[in-house]
Amino acid sequence: MWELTFPRTIVIGEGALDYLEQLKGRRALVITDKTICSLGITDQVLERLRRAGLEVRVFDGVKPEPTRRVVEEAVEIARSFEPDLIIGLGGGSCMDVAKATFALYERPDLTLDEIVPLMELGLRKKAKLINIPTTSGTGADVTWAVVITDEAEEFKMELASREVVADVAILDPRLPSTMPPRLTADTGLDALTHAIEAYTSKWHNDFSDALALWAIRAIFAYLPRAYRDGEDVEAREKLHNAATMAGLAFSNSQIGIAHAMGHALGALFKVPHGRSVAVFLPYTIEYNARVAAARYAEIADALGLGGQTAEEKAKALVEAIRRLLAEVGEPLKVAELGISRTDYEARLEALVDRAMSSTGTIASPREPGREDYERLFKHAYEGRHVDF
C-alpha cells in the first residue's frame, strides 16, 4: 500500500493570483519575507485578499534556512490574530514556515519535532493553508515536507506530515519573473534534483514517475531560457509548473542522497539549498548508477541523449547535467563554492553524520555507509568522477 497526497486545488496560469479574490473567510495571515514585500508581491496578494473581504496581517520575518525561532514568532502572531487562512508566500523557506505555523497554530500542544509522517495531527479545525510560490524550485507549495534548521545542532530537521500539504497552491507565472538569474538557476536545479531523485527512488511509483519525467524534460528545455531572459514568459510558466510537478513527484516518492549531502552542506556551510544539492547530483548519479543504471537510462531516453547500454545512457545523463550546470553558471564541484579544503575536511565527519541521518538516504537506490559518504564528499569537493 502506498498513499499519494496532493493539494485539493492547484491554480495555474497567468492571472492565477486572482483566485485569492474568491476566497471565503474572515482573517488571512500572510507569511513571507522582506524581499517579497520589497518587490511589491505582498501588496498584490493583500489587495486581492482585501477584495475578498478578508482582514489581513503580514508576518515578514522569514529568513533563508528558517530556524525554530522564526517559526515560534510566526506562531505567536497566528495565535493572537486567529486567522482562518494561512498563506505561505515566497520561496521554500516562507512556505515551510507557513506549514509549520499552520500545524502549531492548529495544535498548540505539539512541538515541531512531532510533525512526523504517520502521526495523525488532526489539523484543519481552525484554518486552511494556501501556498503561493514566487520561485520555481522547492516544490514546497505542494509537498508534505517541512525543513527547519535547528541552530543549536546545526541540523536541518526534515519534518513531514501529509496534513501540512496545502489546501490550495497558486502558481502564477508572473511571480517568478522577479527572480534574478542566479536564483533562477539555483531553484531550477533544486527542482531538477527533486525530479531525478523521485524517479530513481526505491519508493517511486507510476504517479511520481510521470510527474518526474515531465518535469525533467521541461527543466532541461526551459531553465536555460529563463536563466538567460527572465522575461521569457513561456519559459517562466513551464519552469514554474515543472517545479511544482517535481515537488509532487518527490513528495509522493522520496528525495535521495544528493539531498542528503546537500542538506548537510547547507547546514554546515550556509550554501543556498538549490546550489548545495545540485553540486552533488552528478556524483550521486555516478554512484547510484552501479545499481540503478536502467532508471537513469530511462531519463536519458526521455531527453534523447543517445547511448546504447544503460550504463552509457546513465553517463550521458551525468554529462548532460554537467553541461546544464555550466550553462547556468553553477559550480561543478564543491571547491568552487568557496569552501576551503581545510574547513571542509575539518567538518567531513559532521557532514557524513548529517547525510547518514537524512531521510534522503533511506530510499536511495544505493544506500551509502559512512565510508562511501566520506568518499562521495571528497570526490564532489575535487570534481573527481565517482568510480566506486
Binding site: 519535532d113 541521518s357 538516504t361 533511506i362 544506500e367 559512512r370
Partner: protein, 134 residues
C-alpha cells in the same frame, strides 16, 4: 537453523548484532528500547513479543516476553508474521515497511528516521541469523 520466533532466535540475534561493526557505528548515539511484536498469520498461532534494549551501538539485552503488556519500551515495532518473514529475508526494509503500513511503529518516528542506517543494519543482522520459520 534457529526457529523464528523463539527465545533462541532473539538470543542469537543479540549475539550477531553485537558483532556488527556497521550497526555499532551507525547507532553510536542511539538510546532506546524496543518491543518487537509478531502478530499471528500464515501458520503462527499466537502473538510473540521480543524485548530488545539498544544502547550506544550495542544490544544490552534481548529476550522474549509473555505479552505486549509485560514490558514497556520507548518504541513498539509491530507487524504480522508474514511481513516479519519478508523483513528477515531482506525483501523489505524497516522504514519502507513502516511507510507502506506493513509494520506499525509507536514511538518517535522522527528519532528513528535519524538512524535509518542503524535500522537497516538491525535488519541485515536479523538476516544473518540462520532462520527457519514455522
Amino acid at each position: 537453523m534457529v526457529l523464528f520466533p523463539s527465545e533462541e532466535w532473539i538470543k542469537r540475534f543479540k549475539e550477531e548484532l553485537n558483532k556488527n561493526k556497521e550497526y555499532e557505528e551507525a547507532a553510536k548515539d542511539w538510546e532506546g528500547d524496543f518491543l518487537f511484536i509478531i502478530t499471528p498469520d500464515e501458520g503462527l498461532d499466537k502473538e510473540y513479543v521480543f524485548y530488545v534494549d539498544l544502547w550506544h551501538g550495542k544490544c544490552r539485552d534481548a529476550y522474549m516476553v509473555p505479552s505486549r503488556d509485560a514490558k514497556k519500551a520507548d518504541f513498539v515495532f509491530e507487524g504480522p508474521y508474514s511481513n516479519w518473514k519478508k523483513l528477515i529475508r531482506g525483501e523489505i526494509d524497516p522504514i519502507t515497511g513502516i511507510m507502506t503500513r506493513k509494520f506499525k511503529l509507536r514511538g518517535s518516528l522522527m528519532r528513528i528516521m535519524r538512524y535509518t542506517k542503524a535500522a537497516s543494519e538491525l535488519v541485515k543482522t536479523a538476516s544473518r541469523v540462520p532462520t527457519e520459520f514455522k
